[in-house]
Amino acid sequence: MSVKVMVVDDSAFSRVMIADALAEGGYEVVGEAESIDTLIETYDSCKPDVITMDIAMPGADGFECSKNLILHDPKVKIILVSSMKDEETEQEARRIGIAGYVQKPVEAEALLTVINSVLAPDTMYQTLDEFGVGVFKEALAQSVTRMTKTTATFAEDNECCNNASQEITVVIGIIGRYSGNMIVALSAETANKMTEIILRREAKSREEVVGLAAEFANVVGGIACSMLNKKEKAFGLRVAPPSVFYGGATEVVSPNIKCHNTYADTEFGRIYLSVGFKKGSVLWM
């Protein structure tokens, strides 16, 4: 079955050039849009596998059109096709979630290579998705042992996007080739007991317990990301400073991310762990 492509470009000439390049690879242009006006309607009616997107268009530019498409369907695969190629353009495109980039004038070989790569299975992401949670579990177990001299036992993984809400929830953003989130959640009682063991005295305040939970999660995230970076340097993972939610029931949701949820039983109580990474292998030509 041939790959279905939708072309977004205000220039009829460019649309023809891109269609010709695609035809060389036996790919089919199933829809065209020249502005934001007919963008979503065309996308819905032609259901393409991939979209080529010009940047400079009158009215809404390619970035704005891409944002609208991603809002409409987070799984959409967009390849920027533009004469502009600079670091700023590239960074903005990556952050928005654009999958690839081809410079104009379009060369058939480059365009087809990027399309094939964007549509191919992302093996590096698959590796991270498959092994990442195991590494985070190991990091959590190590951290429990190092900080409290006790052990942690894990349950089987349960894949779903809702994290069990506890009285203390630590959210840590992960940044790198694949960005993601790690969430560590525990009851106030568990956190209190951990604090007592680590400080060898009762916690003086709730702030001290919350601070301990943040530090614990930060250590777990840091160790896990270092271990993953050692396995695959190209991951380049780093953890952002933790945000801690406490003192009220909180539902935690990471939209559009496949999360692995699990929990560890410790001497202090149960510690919930949720880890997920966003897909988004990018190829730029």
């Binding site: 809002l71 670091e87 928005i96 959210v171 601070g211 780093r238 945000s243 539902e251 990471s254 939209p255």
Partner: protein, 153 residues
């Protein structure tokens, strides 16, 4: 962090919101908060790394979040803050922060990167950020109150 340094984030907010269905974005108030905040009902947490580190949070009460999501989805009725509404709102947060990184880069601070958004829903939970001070900015977006908290160092 210097209050003026949040301008790239405020500019991003004013730039992106009209692109996702809003007409009027008004800055109502700006305040310096401690690192401890209260969740108004729903908050988007986005981690930031690079020359500045920390988190950007965007919060609103649950009813406002439903109205907000409805506007983003071209007026579709939003009775519950379901997965579609959550996805729309978190994508807005991602776009604002991504654009803010671009604005920082244009003003000479490149290399910032952001984590995917996490939504935390639950009225009155407290939030402790890993920064000494947080800058809070209250917006009215087509009349909907939205609070942006910037905790970067």
């Amino acid at each position: 962090m210097d209050v003026n340094a949040i301008n790239p984030i405020l500019d991003a907010f004013a730039h992106i919101l009209p692109q996702v269905g809003f007409q009027v974005v008004e800055k109502k108030a700006i305040s310096l908060e401690s690192s401890c905040l209260r969740n108004p009902g729903m908050i988007i947490n986005i981690g930031v790394m690079g020359p500045l580190k920390g988190a950007i949070l965007i919060g609103m009460d649950v009813e406002s979040a439903k109205q907000f999501a409805s506007k983003m989805m071209m007026g579709m009725e939003v009775v519950e803050l379901d997965s579609l509404a959550q996805s729309a709102i978190s994508e807005m947060g991602n776009m604002v922060c991504a654009n803010a990184c671009t604005n920082f880069s244009q003003s000479g601070m490149g290399g910032l990167d952001i984590s995917p958004p996490t939504l935390l829903i639950g009225k009155d939970a407290m939030i402790k950020l890993s920064v000494p001070k947080v800058i809070g900015v209250t917006f009215a977006v087509d009349g909907i109150r939205v609070d942006v908290f910037v905790g970067l160092f």
